[in-house]
Each structure stands twice: as C-alpha cells, then as structure tokens.
C-alpha cells in the first residue's frame, strides 16, 4: 500500500518533554473511512499522539502525512483543522457562554476568515444542518440554553455534534463515553459507528465494553509506541499486552 492511499500516515514520530519520551518512534496508518480504537495504559502517549496530529505539539522527529501528501508537522492548529481533522477532547470543551445553537453554528463548515464571519448570516441549508445535528445529538430542546448549563453527558454529545458540524475527514475522539451511563454509552457507540461510514475515526478509550461495542481494529500503545494491533480479541490475547495492563 502506498502512502498516497492513506488518510493519515505517521512514521517514526517522537516527542520528548524535558527528557520524558512521550512518543517513541510511533508509526500508525489510518485508511479513508476506517474507524480505529486506540487503547493503552495511562501515559502511553494517546493524548500526545492526538496533540501531534492536530498541531498542538510539534514532534521532534518523524513524518505525519494527511491524505498522503500534506505534511502536518509544519502546520498550525487552524490549518490542520481546515484540512479536515476534527478533535473532541477528553474533557468536554464547549463554549459555555454560547448557546447550544451557537456552538454548532461556530463549528459548522463555513469560511473561517474574519471578514467572512463578520458578514456571515446562516443560510437555510446551514440551519437545516444544525437542526439535523440537534436531532442526532438529542439536544433540540436545549438549543437556546447556554452550553455551560448542560449536564456532563450532554456536553459530550454537544462536542460530538460540533465534530459532525465541522464535517471533517478524520475525527479524533478522546474518551467519548467517560462519565456516561451505560445507555448513553451504547447510544454513543451507535452514533460513532454511523459516522464511520462517511469519515475516518480514531477513538481513544479506556472503556473495554465500549471498544468491544465498536467492534473495530484496535491499536495498543505503550510507552509511546505501538505494542500490538488487531481485533480486540487478538490484542487481548497478546501476552505483551496482558503484561503491560497487569503491570507485570
């Protein structure tokens, strides 16, 4: 497989903070339309990996290519986001002073330059799309409430809704079901699976039930590099993985 066919291509990416190697020659390939679950113990480098992809952290060495040609390591966050990479944070981060509607409107795919936004007014299609996302995320009744007043789970969903509004090619989702009830977790899994058809998704999650629910290829990270890759059953049987998780 050549790099041109990949959506995201990481090769030999390393990052150190004050001597601590957060990523150690990490290599990873995501194909268009693929959904991938990333698991790993605390400190395995999952969040750093997302930081590196989205431009928050610059890697010391290594290559990161998007759609096989764009080098992400030299771009700033907004440029990367505009290429079509969306991110949902571990801790739900929404604009608390804005209404749910405004949060979605801000995320909606539209020109991002200041003068364009100054004169922007929502078109009928834009509104329809926001309504649609409100339905999907079940936030319609809350559309005019400030996002700050939502419950934790609602914020998680709002953030997923914002990702949908962004309509990215690649979604990076960090612990989407933390703090959710079982029912909510199940719904979230369905939602993500729906999305995966049209977009590529990387999900970082601790919740094995949820990962199993997703039923996708799993990558295990450990100490900043890939320890194992395959279906959840395969990796759970991997001796190294068991050692790492049980701390042997």
């Amino acid at each position: 497989m050549s790099t041109e066919d990949t959506l995201l291509y990481l090769d030999g990416v390393s990052v150190s903070f004050d001597g601590f190697r957060a990523l150690n020659s990490l290599s990873l390939v995501i194909e268009p339309g693929e959904m991938r679950a990333i698991i790993g113990p605390n400190g395995a480098g999952k969040t750093t990996m997302m930081d590196v992809i989205t431009g928050k952290t610059r890697p010391d060495t290594g290559t990161i290519l998007f759609e096989g040609r764009t080098d992400l390591t030299s771009l700033r966050e907004p440029a990367i986001a505009n290429l079509g990479i969306g991110r949902k944070f571990q801790r739900p981060t929404v604009f608390e002073m804005h209404t749910v509607w405004d949060n979605l409107e801000l995320s909606l795919k539209a020109p991002r330059r200041p003068l364009k936004t100054l004169t922007y007014s929502a078109t009928r299609e834009d509104r329809a799309r926001i309504e649609e996302i409100l339905d999907i995320t079940r936030l319609s009744p809350r559309r005019d409430r400030p996002a700050g007043s939502l419950s934790h789970g609602e914020k998680q969903w709002l953030e997923i809704g914002m990702l949908l509004a962004q309509d990215p090619k690649l979604l990076l989702v960090d612990e989407p079901v933390a703090g959710m009830t079982d029912a909510e977790t199940e719904q979230t899994a369905h939602l993500l699976k729906d999305i995966a058809g049209k977009h590529s998704v990387i999900v970082v999650e601790h919740d094995m039930v949820f990962v199993r629910e997703l039923g996708v290829k799993v990558t295990v990270l450990h100490e900043g590099s890939v320890l194992a890759e395959g279906s959840l059953d395969t990796v759970s049987a991997n001796k190294q993985v068991i050692d790492v998780y049980l701390g042997r």
Partner: protein
Amino acid sequence: MLTRFFLMGLDKKAGVLLTVLAVLAVAVPVMALGTAPDSPWHLSTHTVALLGKYLCFALLALSLDLVWGFVGILSLGHAAFFTLGGYAMGMYLMRQIGSRGVYGNADLPDFMVFLNWTELPWYWHGFDQFWFAAIMVMLVPGLLAFAFGWFAFRSRVTGVYLSIITQAMTFALMLAFFRNDMGLGGNNGLTDFKEILGFDVQAASTRVGLFVATVVALAAGYILASAVVASKLGKVLIAVRDAESRVRFLGYETDRYKLFAWTLSACMAGVAGALYVPQVGIINPSEFSPASSIEAVIWVAVGGRGTLAGPVLGAVLVNFGKSYFTAALPELWLFALGGLFVLVTLFLPRGILGLAAQLRDRLPARATVTAKPADQKGV
C-alpha cells in the same frame, strides 16, 4: 444589507443608550446655546466640556471593553492608542495656529521656536490638512496596534504577560514623548489651540459642535461594536475569550480574530482621543501613563465588563464622581476612589449592569451550573 448588519446587534440596552445619546445631542445644544445664561436650564461651557470629556472616556471604555470584555485581552495600554489619536489631532490644531503663535512663526509651533528648531520635522507635514489628520487619528493607533498585535498574538502571548507588555508599550511611549527631542512638545505637549476647521475652539458654539460630534462618534462606535459582537465574528471572539485553543481546533485562525478586534479597538480609542483633545485643550505625554490605562480598565469593570453599555455607564459615573469629589473632598477623594474600586471588585464582580442583570433574572441555579463543572475538572 449594511443596515441589517449594523442593526443586528442592537438590543434593549442599546435602545436606551442610543435614546439617551440622542436626547443629549438635542438637549445640550438647546440648553447651552438657546437659553439665557441666568436661566436655570442654561448649561455653561464648563459643563458642556465636562460632558464631552466623559463621553470621550466612554468611547475609550467601549473600545477597551471590546477587547477585554469580548476577547479577554486585558489591555493595560489602551491609553496609548487614545493618546496617539489625541496627538494626531493636536498636531492638526497646532498647525492651525499658524502665525498667531507668540513668535508669529507661520510654520513652527512656539515650543520649537524658542528651543531653536529651524525647520518642521518631516512627521509634522500633512497635519495642516484636516483630512490627513483625520486619517492619522485612526491610522497611527491602528498601525501600532496591528504591529504590536501581529507579533504578540502570533507568539501566543496571553493573559498577564500580554497585559504587562501592553503596559510596557505605553510606558515606553510615555518616556519617548516626554523627550523634547521628539519634537512633540515634550512634557508640555501640545496646547493653546486656536481653531478647528476654521471655528474658534473656545467659542461656545464650537464646544457644542464638538460635543455633538462626540455623541455621534460614541453612538456610531456603540452601534459598530454591537454589530461586531453580535455577528458570527463576535461569537468567535467570545469563544476565543472562553476557550481559545478549542477555537483553533475548529479551524479558526484565532490570531487574526484577535488582531481584528484589537486593531478596531485601537482605532476607536484613537477617535476618542482625537475628540478629547480639542475639548480639554491640551494633549501631553502623561496621558500615556500606565495609570490612565488602568483607570480606563476600572471604568469598564465598574460598569460591567462584556456588556458594551456598562463601560459607557462606568466611564461617565466614575469620571463624574472624580470631578465631583476633587472639588468637594479635595483631600479625601482618593480614599473614595480607591474604596470604590475595592468595593466594586469585591461586591460587583460583574459591574453595575451585571448586578442589574443578576437581580433581574434571579436564576441562581443556572449560574452555579455554569461555573462548577469546569472548575472541578480543572484539577
């Protein structure tokens, strides 16, 4: 289209404020010029000048609120933009003196004559034209803000660091303008103006005209600011204030948004300064002093940060208080002023308008939900 844009930000508060301004714009000329001096309805030029000054400060406060209240950039150097605008206007007014200076020199202002300057420095050229000065009033502060912001926002200087370097900026400007070698009058600044656009600056009618111009500028500034804030750009700005990095991950170049608001704000402050100078009759470097900028911040805080109408109210109230107390309690007014700032921050963290809003919608449950989760998760 354009009207729609300008009207979209206007809410009830704007209605009240603009009505007040409209009434002032009519009532003040009538009371100042249309009544006999001994009538109880007569407004003295002193009062007109005073009101005009308050409104200039209100425009400065408004411009500061645009960046502090809506983008979260606490500028401790906004007086710099205000003063630069003032100097641009002051230079025009100086050139208008012409040969009526004490030495009768047609080109050189008096302070240059007696310090043995022989020719007008290059940066004074053009200021004999009003249109040129009017452009400079916005261009000079705007360019400074643009250059400063370009570097600072790109480098992601934020929070306290940004505040302190804005302070360094205004302090450096103050020291520079104090230098007589700058050719801008040093400590004495620019003063003894004669006329503006051919009208005698001392005449009551000119003062009223300047007052009305200030009212118009404030109203225009208010409408512009509310339109900006209500637009999607304004929503991005507020988002930047609350969670800047999140906005970046949505694909917005936050630097540019900040730069836009920052430069716009500086231009507004410049206009405020330009209107201020002919009304108070002097511009000098102590206006650059960091204390002036901090005072402007305090007007915003007193009125209510992030509300647009609040800063206008705050600037007028605090300055009215200052005028009143410096005459009524000359020895004690600093206690009153200092105490006010402490009390406002302790008991009115959202300012007067914030308090009013709180009293009105009495929804304590909502407020707690807003604050709590973020704080707990922060650890």
